[in-house]
Structures are given as C-alpha cells and as structure tokens.
Amino acid sequence: MRDYILKRLLMLIPVLLGISLSVFLIMQLVPGDVVSGILGIEQTPELRVMWEKKLGLDQPVHMQYLNWMGNVLRGNFGESFRTGAPVFPEIISRFQITAELAVLASFTALFIALPLGIISALKRNQPIDKGVRVAALMGVSVPSFASATLLILFLSKAFGYFTPVKYVSFLQSPGTNLEIMVLPAFILGASMAGSLMRMTRSSILEVMRQDFIKAVRAKGATERITIFRHALKNGSIPIITLVGMQMGSLLGGTVVIEQIFSIPGLGQYVLTGISQRDYPVVQGGVLFIAFVYVIINLLVDILYTYVDPRIQYT
C-alpha cells in the first residue's frame, strides 16, 4: 500500500510541474508592461531598472520560471502589487475559510444527493424517481449564481433577509459564523447535488443489474440485506471517485458564491486580484487551488483502493 502511495505521488510530480508551467506561461501572456502597470506615470529609467531587477524580469524566461518555482517551493509566493503584503500567508488564512465553505457544501450535497439518488434507483420509474430526476436536472441546469440571486430575492421579499456585510470566523463566534455560512453552503451544495444525484442513481442501477445481486437473492437474502449490504456497498465505490471529481467544480463555485455573499475566502482573493491586475495574487492563488484539487483527487484515489479489494497495489 505504501508503495502504491509513493508511486502515485511520483506520478503527481509531472502534473504539478505541468500546472506550474501553465500558470507561469499564461501569466507571460499579459499584454503590456507589468512594471508600467505598477509605476504608472511616475516611471523613471532608474526606477524601472530597480523594479525589473526586483521582479526578476531582467532574467531570461526559463530562469524566471525556475526562480519563481524555487520561491514557491519555499513558501514564497511573492507580494501583492496592491498591498505589498506577502501572498502565501494570505492564501493560507483565506483557504481555511474557503475550506470551511467547501466542507459544509459537500456535506450538504452528500446529504441531499445520496439518499435521493439511492431511492431514485431503487424505485425506478415510479413517481419519486421521476421527481428526483427532474430535481437533478434542475440542479445541473441552474448555475449557483442564479439560484443564489433568486433565493436572496425571495428571502428578502418574504423575510426581509439581506446578505451579511461583515464576516465572522468560526473561531470568533461559531454561531454567527454558521449563520453566515448556511445559505452559501446550501446553495453551493444544492448545485453539486444535482449531478451527484444522477451519478448515484446510475451507479446503483448499474450494480443492481449485476448477477451477484440476483445470486444473493437466490440464496434467500431479504431485500434489506440485498440492498444495504450488497448493492449499496458496491454502488458507493465508484461514487467516491465521482465525488472527488466534483471537488473541482466545487472549488470553482466558491469563487462565485464568495463574491455574492461577501465571504473573504480564497476565491474572492483571486477574483479581486484579477480585477485589480494584482498578478502575484492571481498566480499564487490559481496555483494553490489547482494543487489542492490534484491532491484531493489523489486522496480520493487512495481511499478508493482501500475500499475496493479488487484493486491490486501494483
């Protein structure tokens, strides 16, 4: 098992390398002059040279990349153009907020999607199945920003709700924090639940078609045992991988949701960075998020091999 993990980690390196290379290369596409962007009108040749040296722009491109990666690996993501504050610590502290949102949303999604997906599969083509499938279709077709806005509209008209202005962290005040987070987590989770419901349903249906389900019944198993012990356990294995893949769109979804609900998470950080052309922030944030996604998928894969005895650790 340990060998397998090691092997997967090794296979990860080219991907991580590729990600960092892509991020770096895309940043190179920025039109115009970064230094002018910072200095504006107050440029003088001396200031230019100083800034170029500072930003490492006087070096050839591949050296710039290596320098940047060297720094990244040491935890130095540079400083914000706007505030001058180091990017990495900011990313870490904001990531905790985004992580909280993501975890809450994931639990919401699983809580909604798994039972409904399973019921939908077991009561195939009956009214409840049709209802769940319509709900899932809506979940997939309604973008989170649209459902968020509509929900806020409804709540404000019906209950005088308004989006919270000031964020309170969990450690400061759990109650208030959860109050703030409940709606965004719910909307994000509901969005995810749509496709998760469909995938759960098809996974369970796929398992129910297998011979061993009929064989277990032929032995005299009760429906309960057939479904809970055999069908669901087998059906949940592929779902693990599917949930891992959903994490990507979840992380992307946080960008939008944090914006709408004024939550100071990593997504909002990157977004603000983009609007303000604060490239170290953008670069660092995107790199970090991509890394996190890749690592989440690795953990999911490892979990999968743990659960499925068929996987050989070769």
């Binding site: 011979d211 064989a215 032929a218 032995k219």
Partner: protein, 330 residues
C-alpha cells in the same frame, strides 16, 4: 404430489415501448423427484426466464402474466408464482437453489468467499455459531473438490478461477440440501475441460443428494451428458419433450432435428457446418401459426395458419408439430 414441480400455463411478458410482448407462452412442464431435467434452446427462447420466474427473480420489467407452478416443498405443497415475498425468500436457497452462467460475476466482489458461503447458511439458520458455519462451509468445499478449502474460504472472488468459482457456487447452492437445483447455463462460460469436470461433479452430487436438477443450456452435448428428461424450447414454447434417449434417437420436431444436425455436422461426415436458415423470431413478431414454420423445410400450408398443440406422439414423448399430430392449439 407425484412430481416435484408441476408448471401449468406459465406466461411471461414484458413491456416494450407502448406495447406488451409475450416472452413465454403457456408453458407446461413436470419435473420429477430426483430427476435431471434439461431445458434446451437458443438464446432468447425463454428458457432462462422460465427458471427465474420459478424463484420470483424476473428482472425488471418482466413479469409473470399467468399460470401456476406447484412445488412439493419441505413443508408441503406450495404454488411458487403466488407466494408472498417472505415465503418465497424462505424457500430460496433452502428448497430451491440456483447457479448462474458467469461464475466470475455471480459472487459479490467485495466480500470473501467465506462470508458469502456463511450467508447462505445464516439466511436460513438464525442460531448457528461462527465455528459451525465455517465447518459446514469447509465441508461443502471439500464435497465439490476444491483443493485448498481453508485458503479458498479466505479469498476474494477475483483471486479465484472460473472453475473454482463455479464449484463454490454449487457448494453454496447445495448448502441447505435443496430439493430443486436450477442450473442456468452453468458451463457456458467455462473452458471445455473445466466444463467436463463441473458436469461430472454435478452428476456425482445428484446421486448422493436428494435433489432434482433443471439444467438450462443451449448445448445438446451437456444435455446428453447429464439429463434424463428433456424439453426443447422455441420462441417461448415447448416444442418437444421426451426422455433423453428419445430426443436423440427418435427426434420428432423439425427444430430439434435441425439442432442435432448442427451439432453432428461439427465432427461428422458432412462437409459443411449445418445451420438452420433464418433466425429465432423475437417476441412481438410471432404470427398465428407455428413459430418455426418459416424456417422449416417440411412446412405445410396448415403450419402458417394454425398453431399446433403440444401433443403426445409416443408414450412420454410430446411434440408440437402437424407432421406428427393434427391437434390445433386451443
């Protein structure tokens, strides 16, 4: 009851789009006690689903639309098709058992062999302890000639070969001494040499146990090796039924003759492989008359208009063909 199982007028249908099509059309069968009964036919003729129906294991959306199946159970006579779900469950694995075509997929991949064998015991024995269960499982594995029963018990299905898995399935099926074992193409997915071993095993077990076997297959060779009585299925009906000797030597129905010819052409004097021209008509495309008519070399006008009844053409030998009897199906 005189026989172990008496099926009368079994009908199975399935919806397809907006229609409902018949898959099994008023089938009558009698399976005797301690008898090896073969059901032979090509894919799609209805033989498998007939067997599944007996255990109320028809896959969605198929359903039984008529008929009865009286079974002489351990606690008296029961009518299988109308049993409640609970009653059926207590029969499954205990009085009627089934083994399947693909041993590789017939066991749950995430549980050990031991667990799955013990399930078969536990489902019908609430108060048995672990040690006893393991003992019984080991004993059954030895009975089916598994070489290293202890190791096999603790293995997962994917670690074992097709032949081993099929033996395990047989062991599971016979665990509670069922009166009827339904074998649905048990050797089709196995290598020829393994096939022979499994069939030998089944014959041997049948002698020692008090079990009747329904052997479902498309392979006449298997029938010849294992069965005493045979029913030939075609397009949802029984077209010929007799003891195995008569089926092979006094073959009556043109379809059966065609099947035999196809098998013997493989190794015999004929230069070319013989196949019956045409294809089996699927449910929903059956006409008024004999369903084999358009592929039959001996077809008469009467065959296209009327459906021949399954009539007795010799003692214990039934055939559904106007060549042998003028009876028309009611």
């Amino acid at each position: 009851m005189k026989n172990l199982l008496e099926i009368r007028g079994l009908q199975i249908r399935t919806p397809r789009g907006k229609d409902v099509i018949k898959l099994v059309d008023k089938v009558d069968l009698d399976v005797g006690k301690k008898q090896s009964f073969g059901i032979v036919g090509e894919s799609g003729c209805g033989k498998s689903i007939t067997a599944n129906a007996l255990m109320q294991l028809l896959p969605y959306p198929l359903e039984v639309s008529g008929g009865t199946a009286r079974f002489d159970g351990k606690n008296g006579e029961v009518e299988l098709l109308s049993l409640t779900a609970d009653r059926m469950r207590s029969l499954r694995g205990r009085e009627i058992a089934m083994i399947f075509q693909e041993p590789m997929t017939a066991l749950d991949p995430i549980f050990t062999v031991a667990f799955q064998m013990e399930e078969a015991i536990r489902f019908h024995n609430a108060s048995i302890n672990k040690k006893e269960m393991r003992e019984r499982a080991l004993e059954m594995l030895r009975r089916v000639n598994i070489p290293r029963p202890e190791q096999t018990l603790d293995s997962y299905p994917h670690q074992l070969s097709g032949g081993q898995l099929q033996r395990i399935m047989i062991a599971i099926a016979l665990m509670n001494n069922p009166k009827l074992l339904i074998a649905d193409e048990p050797t089709t997915a196995l290598d020829v040499t393994i096939q022979a071993q499994i069939l030998d095993l089944m014959n041997e077990l049948k002698e020692t146990a008090d079990t009747s076997i329904i052997m479902i297959t498309h392979d006449l060779g298997v029938i010849a090796e294992t069965c005493q009585h045979v029913a030939v299925f075609y397009a949802g009906q029984v077209v010929e039924e007799a003891d195995v000797g008569s089926i092979f030597h006094q073959t009556a129905h043109p379809y059966t003759i065609g099947l035999l010819r196809a098998v013997t052409s493989l190794g015999g004097e004929e230069k070319k492989l013989y196949t019956i021209p045409g294809i089996v008509p699927p449910g929903g495309l059956w006409g008024q008359g004999c369903r084999f008519a358009d592929r039959c070399v001996k077809r008469m006008d009467k065959c296209i208009k009327d459906m021949p009844a399954l009539a007795e053409v010799a003692p214990g030998h039934k055939c559904r063909c106007f060549l042998h009897s003028g009876e028309v199906e009611a």
